[in-house]
Symmetry: C2
Subunit: 266 residues, 2 copies
Amino acid sequence: QVTLPSLAHREVARALAAEAAAAVPLLPSAVPVDVADFRNSAGTAVGTLDVRRGEPASSIDFMLHSSLHCKVPNGAIDITSVLIFLNALTDAPHFLMEFIQGSPTSMVVILDLLPRKDLALHPEYLQKYYEHTHLDKQREKIEELPQTRPYRSPSLFVRSACSPTAVSVTIDCGQGGEGTLEEIVCGHLASAVKEVLQIWLHSCARDTSEMEEAEREIMIKRDQVVRSKSIEVDLTANLPRMFGPDVSGHIIAEIRKTFGVQLQEA
Amino acid sequence: QVTLPSLAHREVARALAAEAAAAVPLLPSAVPVDVADFRNSAGTAVGTLDVRRGEPASSIDFMLHSSLHCKVPNGAIDITSVLIFLNALTDAPHFLMEFIQGSPTSMVVILDLLPRKDLALHPEYLQKYYEHTHLDKQREKIEELPQTRPYRSPSLFVRSACSPTAVSVTIDCGQGGEGTLEEIVCGHLASAVKEVLQIWLHSCARDTSEMEEAEREIMIKRDQVVRSKSIEVDLTANLPRMFGPDVSGHIIAEIRKTFGVQLQEA
């Protein structure tokens, strides 16, 4: 039976999730066994999903950590995500990290503090969370690597939801570049990911914000749109192809529950 | 006395402004003579500024067309902009084009339909003006050129104000590449610019939108922030260095008047 292969990027994500879990108030893991660990009937795809809710009265909504592995005709695709989302006690950005590895020598990296307000309407928010934290330096460090080039999500919505400091790159080390990719993942990438987590822990995770009720309502609506659209773009477009309708339906329902965006019919 | 040198990019902008002016209802030019044409006392910098307001009751606020030329120690910098901004009768995007040429072989291009709503909160707006118009294809065509690489504005605010389909590139043709740059400007760039203008004329320029009053108020506030910040980032940071405080103060005051963001003290 197929198992999750060990990969440098997966180890970086594991270490990051552990570091985050030690620093923010989380309840124990709360997903059913068949969601924590799942596979398709053909034995070509396997995945894990861990969700921990934030402690009551904290500003943490949840931490989600998932790993997918799926054999494809010429190899395999491995996707690892760590999301830490905040609730409406704060307007501070969410933490988002996603690695999509399509070959042993190349991968896509998305790393961002997801804004929860319209940055063009709220320059003071941009200043507080993005300028004063020097977040853009982490993006610069990654983009300086000769193996990286910008990655544009095909979804204009995903691009719109990201901050202007988002790392969104393809790292491509070319033929024979397996070792180079591993070095970059364990070196530059691991340290950028750690730095961004530190910035988030320091400026966002413990933040609570005074907000006017009207402002909070817009933020809650915006959060709902971003959560629903990302499930639509990311999961409902891809999981069924990998795991078939039954398994993927079950997993997507769990993620919808976590995100608080259940379907009417669910 | 220094004059505006003829440059391929300036000709492209002139043709574009003429095409736009023939297609949208504009009043005659309305800037004082010393704003239409200005220079610094040292004779190292020269500029032109033309502003035409939209006809009353139209959704056009103004068209601004400016050209700057400034000698610097190792050559000259030439900046040409065409902005066509809409008023609050519509929420359709503004048209924005800016060329910044720092040498005979390289230049920065910014070309966008500037959104007037928070795209992450309004996916239907994103769909209407950006997805359905296939605007992203124009960005792709420019970025496919081997001489281009992404340009990131140092201002996070400018990056936040642009759409996810914005062309924002450096075109660098390297040593001896004067002819190549001219070819790209008159070929690929001129046609992308024309296409984007056509999209804007077709989907935005004649659009009027039903909006709820609260929505319109947010849009008006957002417009004000974007206009003020772009004057701050773009003009007050650069013009004084090029033209000295007196000339630049006079020009900036005129642009503030056009943008409808006058200073309290003005």
